[in-house]
């Protein structure tokens, strides 16, 4: 036997070595000559690596080892001499054997090519899932309406979401692929921010005899325009992006060529045309109107270039979404104006006694403010009766969204919504449902609560019939499972809450205590020698801060929570109870749901002074999705319960998954929102602090109005709900 040292093995030596391991399955028809010959071409290191694994595998199964040796050299080539990759491939083949036998293992060894493609994709490619949050935050930081990020086959935007590929792996390094993702994102964002979708593009394209050609050319021109705007807006980004814009750069350099640079000058005219297109679209304030002008001008003169980063324009989809948004936002905006007018009216009529006289129509208008940093070079301020007013945040963002779509606030938007329409709608549906339920439901033993009718601006008396019902307890291992699934979190929570509670305070100036308060002694000595009474408060004492907090959790049990939301809510409750028990704060938990005003249900899970025992645990496990989300009554009922409790600080925390809404449709939209808002006012008047934790990503549109900007939080990732609820509670009461 020859060397075991690190010399390269020739084919003969290699065969000898392989024979050792593969002996049991070799025969005169099957020898190691072939594999040995191939493996002799490899480097020493690769040979050693191969032999090592052949030996290891042979100790499990000699046939597999033979197959491995036979494919090894190919694998080295396909996996680009990357031994880490080869090791991964080896392991995959071995586990295929362990799990599903020789045939499948051989299949893996055969499919090295496929394995290699996937492997390298994963190695240097970037998965959207891994950077989705980062990109979402990134575009949120850029200006304009907030955009979601989702995966899709085609890169595009519908003006509310940016669609990106699931994985990008076209560049050799992770950094480059990540940047390419960013490029795709920024480009789609730019369409939204720099006004690509300002007009109905279908209408524009249909004016040409070949609308598809028009769309292509538009897309190409618009891309040139957007890149130039990005260059001004995000210079740092653009500098890097230039390395990724080959097709664009190529086109642009062509425009710089002169007559002499060209080998054959048949393209010169086209180049000249591109030159003027580039120069027009590179103006700092270029708009989509410029693109459309150029489209008309060059429609029949020039062929579109498809830039690799540009994705597709989904004209129809955008148009649908835009139409819906415009109409929604118009309604919302006009309602907001009505509110603003109301507020002003109320403020005025408080001081001056002109209540009836003053009821003239509010006069809203906008003033244009130049601002060259904005895509349209201007923004608008809202005025009421000639005075500039600063609308609340939610109205402000509504305004920006409208301006982003249209470029201004059109006149017909500036008319405050009148109440007329709502009254009739409400009346009709209210009567219908009354008919359905009357008689079918006994009202004995129920609580009655008023409901706020924002149209009438007063309460409907005893409108809601509320009952406390029981959650059917479910005795299972839900609580235990939750605790063990979230072991890490439970530990963190314990530590954090311990820190809250552990805040021992040194109380000064006590009548008795563990130590002497020097300041106090000096002071009282001084006072004594002034002839004053002896002050006996000269001790210090350590004491736990008395938190004296009572908190009521109001849990959404509406039908929409069915499934994992419900699961997350229950898990959140378990962790919460764990934390609160540690803290010693008093707490109660109730669920709410219902169908119409006649069947409002409050589900008792834990009374304020009930112990956290097995029964409570079983009720938490038994929390299930019920009907609708009428909210006002629940807030009123729980407020009433909380009013009975003696505590310095009282909190009412709602866990919710969406807007208030009820079966009869009447509670949907403004009515429900206003009633909920009113019930929260009432709660606040009683010294209760309401707070809302929601998973509704659209909550920013209505929760600030209901709870106030600082009193709610949106949890983006439902999986984080269990942790977050406790965490928020801790922050809230720190």
């Amino acid at each position: 036997m020859k060397n075991h040292t690190n010399d390269i093995l020739n084919a003969e030596d290699m065969e000898e070595r392989l024979d050792q391991f593969l002996d049991p399955i070799l025969s005169f028809r099957r020898s190691a000559v072939g594999p040995a010959k191939q493996m002799s071409m490899l480097t020493v290191e690769e040979q050693q690596f191969g032999l090592h694994w052949v030996e290891v595998i042979a100790s499990t199964n000699a046939e597999m080892a033979y197959q491995y040796a036979a494919h090894f050299s190919d694998a080295i080539l396909l996996l680009r001499h990357d031994l880490n990759a080869v090791e991964n491939w080896t392991i995959e083949a071995m586990s295929a054997f362990d799990e599903r036998g020789l045939q499948l293992c051989i299949k893996v060894l055969h499919n090295t090519k496929e394995f290699s493609e996937n492997y390298f994709k994963k190695q240097h490619g970037i998965m959207l899932d891994d950077i989705k949050k980062l990109l979402t935050v990134f575009v949120c930081g850029l200006n304009g309406r907030s955009l979601k990020i989702e995966a899709a086959e085609q890169t595009c935007t519908d003006t509310e979401t940016i669609y990106l590929p699931e994985v990008v792996s076209k560049y050799p390094t992770k950094e480059e692929n990540f940047f390419y993702f960013k490029l795709l994102t920024v480009y789609q964002w730019a369409q939204n921010w720099f006004g690509t979708w300002r007009y109905d593009l279908n209408e524009k394209f249909n004016q040409f005899d070949d609308p598809v050609r028009a769309l292509k050319l538009f897309h190409c021109f618009e891309s040139i325009r957007l890149l130039s705007r990005i260059r001004y807006e995000l210079p740092g980004f653009f500098r890097q992006a230039e390395n990724f814009l080959n097709d664009y750069n190529e086109l642009q350099t062509k425009t710089l060529l002169t007559h002499d640079d060209l080998p054959e000058n048949n393209n010169l005219n086209a180049n000249k045309e591109w030159q003027s297109i580039f120069s027009k679209l590179s103006e700092k304030q270029s708009r989509v109107d410029d693109t459309l002008d150029l489209l008309e001008q060059y429609y029949s003169l020039i062929e579109a270039v498809d830039f690799s980063f540009q994705g597709v324009l989904l004209v129809n989809k955008v148009q649908n979404i835009k139409t819906r948004r415009l109409s929604d936002e118009k309604t919302l905006f006009r309602e907001a104006l009505a509110r603003l007018a109301d507020e002003k009216h109320q403020a005025n009529s408080e001081s001056v006694e002109t209540f009836e006289m003053d009821k003239k129509k509010p006069d809203f208008d906008t003033v244009l403010i130049e601002d060259i940093d904005l895509p349209d070079g201007a923004t608008f301020e809202l005025t009421l009766d000639g005075q500039v007013i600063v609308p609340p945040d939610d109205v402000e963002s509504l305004m920006s969204s409208i301006i982003q779509d249209i470029g201004e606030i059109p006149e017909e938007y500036l008319v405050a919504a009148g109440p007329g329409k709502y009254v009739t709608e409400n009346e009709v549906s209210a009567n219908k449902t009354d008919g359905v339920w009357s008689g079918a439901y006994h009202e004995e033993g129920a609580y009655f609560y008023d409901e706020w009718d924002h149209v009438r601006q007063h309460h409907r008396k005893n409108w809601c019939v509320v009952r406390e019902v029981r959650v059917m307890p479910v005795y299972d291992d839900f609580v235990q499972k939750t605790l063990s699934n979230h072991m890490g979190i439970v530990k963190t929570l314990r530590r954090n809450f311990e820190a809250l509670k552990g805040e021992e305070k040194l109380l000064k100036r006590q009548i008795n205590g563990d130590d002497i308060d020097i300041d106090a002694v000096v002071e009282s000595y001084a006072e004594l020698s002034m002839g004053m009474e002896l002050n006996e408060r000269i001790f210090t004492r350590m004491q736990r801060d008395d938190r004296n907090i009572a908190v009521m959790f109001m849990v959404d049990m509406s039908g929409s929570t069915k499934g994992w939301i419900n699961q997350a809510e229950r898990e959140a409750l378990v962790l919460l109870c764990e934390s609160l028990e540690m803290l010693g704060d008093r707490y109660a938990i109730y669920g709410f749901s219902g169908t119409t005003r006649k069947r409002c249900e409050i589900y008792h899970i834990k009374h304020i002074d009930e112990n956290y025992n097995d029964k409570v645990r079983a009720r938490i496990s038994g929390v299930s999705a019920k009907d609708y989300t009428r909210m006002g009554f629940a807030i009123r009922h729980l407020t009433a319960l909380l009013e009975e409790v003696e505590a310095k600080t009282k909190l009412l925390i709602t866990l919710s998954d969406g807007k208030p809404e009820d079966y009869d449709g009447q509670y949907r939209g403004k009515y429900g929102i206003e009633d909920t808002r009113q019930s929260l006012f009432e709660a606040r008047e009683k010294g209760i602090h309401p707070y809302c934790i929601t998973i509704d990503k659209e909550a920013g549109d209505y929760l600030p109005h209901m709870y106030g900007a600082a009193n709610y939080v949106v949890i983006e990732d439902i999986n984080k709900l269990p942790l977050k609820v406790s965490d928020i509670y801790r922050k809230l009461t720190a």
Partner: protein, 272 residues
């Protein structure tokens, strides 16, 4: 040691050189009017938006000493009003900063007043209404405020803790001035004047600040304050690479979440 060295000497609290303050609205006018009418002032606003600077500027403008008390949860009424001390067998009364201001007609600025214990805020009640008096319980006297005395305090309503809300009976005594981060143009000017950076850099920093402010509520509790922008500008002026400066002086100050940090760093890298 001279115990009286603990004593505050208002004459040391005059501000002689004009503190640079860029007015953002009618706040100077309103403060002057409140001052003239002997009304106390409450400055509301997020951290680092110029409240302290504004007070310094107003003190200079009104030619009054500015005595600032940073409130904390151990601050007692005696810390504000004063106490007896003993020096060589004799008892001496030493005024606290509030009493000193009341007596000498200084501007007393209680910074972050919600941090103070609730019972402490109560001693300012009689000072903050039209009585304008400071009861000194220990001495059994009631100190009447000097003509030119002015009480101001600051308060950051962004705090989420319900336990740290300002009581209605306190807040309803004050003329409130609402501060927020200045407009882009003004904020840019502040950076140019305060740090001496060129306008292109100042503009980009302000743009970056707006990006982080867009993230408020979507992962950040607060966006970058003017103060943080000043910090970044100082580092950059000193030769630090802008992206690195933004990372250390702004991003890291805003969050610890690694994903948020990288997103914010991506944002600053897009600008510089």
């Amino acid at each position: 040691m001279d115990l009286l060295s603990q004593e505050i000497l208002p004459e040391n609290y005059f501000i002689n050189d004009e503190p640079y303050y860029e007015s953002v609205g009618d706040e100077i006018e309103i403060f002057e009017s409140a001052y003239k009418n002997k009304l106390p002032v409450l400055l509301k606003g997020p951290t680092g938006c110029g409240k302290t600077r504004f007070m310094e500027h107003m003190a200079w403008r009104l030619r009054r000493p500015l005595i600032t008390v940073s409130c904390h949860d151990d601050l007692t009424a005696s810390d504000l009003v004063g106490r007896y001390l003993i020096t060589s067998g004799e008892t001496v009364w030493v005024d606290g900063p509030l009493a000193k201001s009341v007596r000498s007609g200084a501007i007393c600025y209680l910074d972050e007043v919600v941090e103070a214990r609730k019972d402490t805020t109560v001693v300012i009640h009689p000072l903050a209404d039209d009585r304008r008096v400071l009861p000194m319980e220990k001495r059994g006297v009631v100190l009447e405020a000097e003509e030119k005395f002015c009480l101001a305090m600051s308060y950051n309503p962004g705090y989420q803790s319900v336990l740290k809300d300002l009581k209605q009976s306190t807040r309803q005594r004050f003329v409130a001035l609402e501060f927020d981060y200045p407009d882009a143009k003004i904020e840019q000017k502040i950076l140019e004047n305060e740090v001496g950076v060129d306008s292109a850099l100042a503009r980009n920093l302000v743009k970056f600040a707006h990006m982080t402010r867009n993230l408020k509520g979507s992962g950040l509790d607060e966006g970058a304050s003017t103060r943080l922008l000043v910090h970044a500008a100082l580092l950059i002026k000193d030769g630090i690479n802008p992206v690195a400066a933004c990372r250390s002086s702004i991003a890291q100050a805003l969050t610890d979440d690694p994903e948020m940090l990288s997103a914010i760093n991506e944002l600053s890298a897009s600008l510089f």
